[in-house]
Amino acid sequence: MILGAASIAEKIPFLWPEIAAFLATCVVMVVGLSPNLGTRRLCAPIAGLGLVAAGVLAAFTTPEGTGPLPFLMPFAKVVLCGVGLVLLLLASGVVDRDEEAVIAAGKATFNPLRTNRAEFYAFFLFSLTGLMLCASADDLIWLFLALELTSLPTYIMVTMSRTGRDGARSCEAGVKYFFLGALGAAMFLYGFALLYGGTGTTSLRGIERAFVSQSGSGGINSIAMVGMLLSIVGVGFKIAAVPMHLYTPDVYEGSASPVAAFLAFVPKTAGFLAIILLVSTMGWTFARDGSAAGGHSLPQLVLLTLWVMAALTMTVGNVLALLQKSVRRILAYSSIAHSGYMLVGVIAGPGDGTSITRNGIAAVLFYLLCYGLMNVGAFAVLACLDRKAGDDSPELETVDDLRGLCSSHPVLGWTMVVCALGLMGFPPLLGFFAKVPLFTSAIAAGEIPLVIVLGLNSAIAAFYYLQLVAAPMLEAPDTTVRTEPTGHAARPMAALISAASVVGVAVASGPLMEAGAKAGGKPVAKKPAEQPKRPPSGPSGH
């Protein structure tokens, strides 16, 4: 079972986006070490170019996959390249601010060991590359490596995101994130090992076939089942699902806002892709025979696990968010809650695999895009402003700091209002269009109790999102806290793009939803005609 040259060549067409991103990473690593500040500043544009190239390649070159979700790759990769670009805009100025100020003052000269721009942008791209690889994964080994490639750079990004006095907080965030992340990784690695043990293969298609034959002869192997549960729970760390959610608020609070926005999107997306791929091996039937109208055929145990995780995750996230004063902790807990919502889509399963309103997977994929945009917008507002006379931290911290933002900084204030309303799921905005398919697909799958829990949680969430709406919009500016823009022009641009997307993508949500539905959809009917051309053996043939 060694990857043969032929099977690697077969994989290449799927990997052009990753290759592009990787090449950009290499260039960034080299360029970022230049003693010339102007050259070093090329890091971000090069990273952006790499992402654009990756997105274009993903949109136009990716062929139909061989897994149960053959259209997942292009959609997921384009989406994450798009959101990645906004994140990149937001990330400007995170690193080397103090360092460059010192050099500019003539107190020091350039020292490649003290500058970390190259590292930061390289890690940024590495993480996104890992995320793209997650979407391409058709093997457990691949999936494990992709998940680790997504996560390992983020540990460092968190730790290095703040310097000086704030550095202590980012160190604390880093240590919690890294150690708990390693624990989580160990868990799903062990789960993967058991999955391999129970089925004899690491290929996702092979595992699927093994499950089919096992359920044909007396039920799925218990070792494989335990492995699957452990894998799901372990990957739950990436999506911040109960009980692996505990790190989230501390890490988001400790890291700089652009990095927190990154964490809320990239590892979460990776986690969801991994969970979707893992669960898909357990035999969602896209009503293959055409008789039953969709529905899921997940084993009861997996379903129960996911059910408990989803219900607990959204409830815990929302009720704890209610008690917070810090905007970033609110967003962190809401990030937990949103993971819970999306798990509902995973539970609903692909239904009949056609329309997004009945396809939970498509709903999750679309939700990931929407959530990414709205969340980036909210964090961008925090990243755009410095407190002028801050006692402890220059970044905006509490809800009170947002008061009157709509009058003092209209663009940022309204961005916060729009994004918070969007996250709340306020009707004409993006969040609403994202949430509706989750509800409808769960109803179509017959998960009425879960839908009720989802509805109640959405109501609870309104409490704290409305705080974020009311403070900038309705209250008078706080005169004691002077805020001023950070001077990174790209950050307000990221905020503006997000806010515009929250409003604008809602208008264009029809085609996007269709794309999502396609991505989460089943192989189309023309499959039989193409079957001979594409031999079913994956890279890990037997």
Binding site: F179, L183, V226, P243, Q300, L322, L323
Partner: protein
């Protein structure tokens, strides 16, 4: 919507051709489709004027042109009329459901709701459309001058947008070939009425009046909507032609004709009752008439067109159009007759005691609408339609004349503060045309109003069992003559005297400006002492505020003259055609339409029309059709005579007349009438007060119980959050332990569940 219109334009030609095969070739159907299109063009053009901030009279001329074009189309259609036509603009609503096979077997029948934007053009339609578009054109011309004070504001364009939209809606209502399109028009005219009553939206009384009109109309509209739904539920169609041809419906009609009402289910008999409620609301019949007098807050052209001549006759039209539906109910038409009679009398008594001339005209409108309903109720839809037609002319004339006075005297409408206007320079035309209108309204012999009123009266006595209605209507005719000439004798003749109203520049434009501080809704102050008028003998009015009465310009005079001539010109129409002397031309028009004799189930419905004399009541033992001319003529002249004695003969000052001397003898009754019999207060007590109490009660429930629940709902998540907050201890080991424990716990639960 726009694309829909364009589509309809594109599809106009073939659709009209295709739709015309109903009875006759579709010659001229195109022309009728042009009416809504032209009015919509008017709406769009005026909207563009509003957007482009046009501050000239352009919107008025556009409107006049569009409306004149529409009138021309109607006239051309009328002249080339050969028989009922059917033209389909475009497919508007087409819903189909059912047909699936349920689990239990059998099959759900397929049901479909078709409603085309289709026109059904017969003589009834044409009759209505002729005066709707004709009067609309004239009144738009009048309004171009009347509203001139607002030319500098956006209001001018706004006025004409709503005006055109009104004519569009009215044409939908009248020409619709199905009840759904009629309903669209019905709501559309309601909306325009609301917009135009509230035209002076900075004036609280105008806003209140607009709201009142809208809300009261909603009650009626609900009835109409329910009626249409019930028709659809029972017969599966909303199209007149299909409904009339429905075999079930024909069966009911036959049963009704045979007098066998017991065999008709109650829910079928409910349909006319529901439609009737709609008609009562729109046509201001008791008990839903209260909005119409208040609607006079709108600009006078609006009062003339919408609230006197056209919109308020929509109820009459509805009943005439669906006359056969009303015949399947035993009680529907008697109720219509009695409600009409009661309304006529009630409104006439109120009108006698008012001082605001526009308001008197409003009550006279309500009263005359009562006549029309009574006419419908006593089986003479011809008489009703004829009266609608004549009334449209003379009532529009009266309103426009009153409007000219109001326009010229700075909003003054109190008949105690105006006198001898006709003799003032430049006011002769207004005075003469006003006299024409008054004579018509009073039913002076040989005038148009006389013939149409006479038909209804005669039929009321002729129809067995309705002679009480006839007596009420006869009494009302006398009262009408009295209060009409009370206005004429006091305002237009007699000693010259005037006090200007409080609209500073003598223009309506003063209305729209909020800087007037106080509302001047009621230029006439009822309780106002009259002593301070002494100083303004005739001609001296100019001195006080430097005020000069502002005689009407050419547009207003032209329109008044045209209408006055029209009021005479329609007299001969009574003596042509098959029904000469009994409605004449108008009778022919109605007879050849759906309101006429039934095409299939010809029965007793036909007999009432135009004097089919199968079974006759009598008027004091005489044939009412022969003697009523004389009786009603005498009654009208007596009414005028009383008015002359009380209000003109020997009157030396504006504020007082001989009638004041009679007041003590009548005790509190005139006061009650002046307060409109306290009907508004009664509604207030009956409806608003209970609602107010209920609202506060519910508010209390809301505060104590619902809010409590909400607070509880808010409290639970917080409490839950506080309970699990310690898990977020911030300590790495705690997190690790929770994670490990959580995973172990989860796996344990799952494994337990598995075993």
């Amino acid at each position: 919507m726009l694309s829909g219109i364009l589509n309809s334009l594109a599809a106009l030609m073939p659709a009209a051709e295709a739709g015309g095969d109903l009875l006759h070739p579709p010659k001229g159907a195109m022309l009728m489709l042009a009416v809504p299109v032209l009015t919509l063009v008017g709406v769009l053009a005026c909207t563009i004027c509003a957007v482009a901030r046009v501050r000239t009279k352009l919107p008025a001329w556009i409107s006049v042109a569009c409306l004149a074009g529409a009138f021309g189309c109607v006239l051309a259609t009328f002249l080339g009329y050969e028989g009922p036509r059917h033209a389909v603009g475009f497919e508007w609503i087409h819903l189909q459901w059912g047909g699936e096979t349920p689990r239990g077997g059998g099959q759900v029948p397929i049901r479909a709701l078709h409603a085309n934007f289709g026109l059904y053009v017969d003589t009834l339609t044409l009759l209505w459309m002729l005066f709707v578009t004709g009067l609309a054109t004239l009144i738009a011309l009048y309004a171009s001058e009347y509203m001139a004070g607002d030319v500098r504001t956006a209001g001018y364009s706004r006025f004409f947008v709503a005006f055109n939209l009104f004519v569009f809606s009215m044409s939908c209502l009248v020409m619709a070939d199905n009840l759904l399109l009629l309903y669209l028009g019905w709501e559309g005219v309601g909306l325009c009425s609301y917009l135009l009553i509230g035209y002076f939206y900075k004036k609280p009384s105008a806003v209140a009046a607009a709201k009142k009109a809208f809300i009261v109309n909603r009650i009626g509209d609900l009835g109409l909507a329910l009626g249409i739904m019930l028709i659809f539920v029972k017969f599966g169609t909303v199209e007149y032609a299909t409904l009339l041809a429905d075999s079930k419906f024909q069966g009911f009609l036959a049963a009704a004709t045979a007098g066998d009402f017991a065999s008709i289910p109650w829910d079928i008999q409910l349909i006319p009752a529901l439609l009737m409620i709609g008609a009562f609301g729109k046509s201001a019949q008791f008990p839903l008439y209260v909005w119409l007098p208040d609607a006079m807050e709108g600009p006078t052209p609006v009062s003339a067109l919408i609230h006197a001549a056209t919109m308020v006759t929509a109820g009459v039209f509805l009943i005439a159009r669906t006359f056969w539906v009303f015949q399947v109910s035993e009680y529907a038409l008697p109720i219509v007759a009695w409600i009409g009679a009661i309304t006529a009398l009630l409104a006439a008594t109120i009108g006698m005691a008012q001082f605001d001339i526009k308001r008197i005209m409003a009550y006279s409108t309500v009263s005359q609408l009562g006549y029309m309903f009574a006419g419908l109720g006593v089986m003479t839809s011809v008489g009703a339609a004829f009266h609608v037609f004549t009334h449209a002319f003379f009532k529009a004339l009266l309103f426009l004349a009153c409007g000219a006075v109001m326009h010229g005297f700075a909003g003054q409408l109190d008949l105690r503060k105006l006198s001898g206007v006709q003799k003032m320079p430049g006011w002769r035309i207004v005075g003469v045309t006003m006299l024409v209108g008054c004579l018509n309204l009073a039913g002076f012999p040989l005038l148009a109003g006389f013939w149409s009123k006479d038909m209804i009266l005669a039929q009321a006595f002729a129809e067995p069992g309705y002679s009480a209605v006839g007596w009420v209507l006869l009494l009302t005719a006398g009262l009408t003559a009295y209060y009409t000439f009370r206005v004429y004798f006091r305002v237009f003749v007699g000693p010259q005297h005037f006090e200007p109203g409080d609209e500073v520049h003598g223009h309506d434009d003063a209305h729209g400006h909020g800087d007037h501080g106080h509302a001047h809704a009621e230029p006439a102050h009822d309780g106002h002492g009259h002593g301070d008028h002494a100083g303004h003998a005739h001609g001296s009015g100019g001195g006080q505020h430097g005020f000069h009465p502002h005689p009407p310009g050419w547009a207003i005079n032209l329109v008044l003259v045209v209408l006055a001539i029209g009021a005479f010109a329609i007299i001969p129409l009574n003596f042509i055609g098959e029904h000469a002397g009994h409605g004449g031309w108008a009778a022919d028009m109605v007879h050849h339409s759906t309101a006429g004799p039934l095409p299939a189930g010809a029965g007793h419905a036909a007999e009432g029309h135009g004097g089919g004399h199968a079974e006759h009541g009598t008027f004091l033992g005489m044939d009412p059709h022969k003697v009523m001319y004389y009786v009603s003529g005498v009654v009208g002249i007596v009414g005028i005579g009383i008015a002359f004695v009380l209000h003109l003969a020997g009157r030396t000052e504006a504020a007082r007349s001989r009638a004041d001397g009679l007041l003590p003898a009548l005790g509190p009754i005139p006061g009650w009438a002046q307060h409109k019999w306290y009907v508004d207060e009664f509604y207030d007590f009956l409806i608003r007060t209970p609602l107010w109490v209920a609202a506060h009660l519910f508010h209390l429930v809301d505060k104590l119980i619902v809010d409590g629940l909400v607070n509880l709902f808010g409290f639970i998540p917080r409490a839950l959050g506080k309970a699990i907050r310690p898990s977020q201890s911030g300590v790495l080991h705690g997190y690790a332990l929770a994670m490990a424990g959580g995973v172990a716990f989860l796996l344990l639960i799952v494994l337990m569940a598995a075993l």
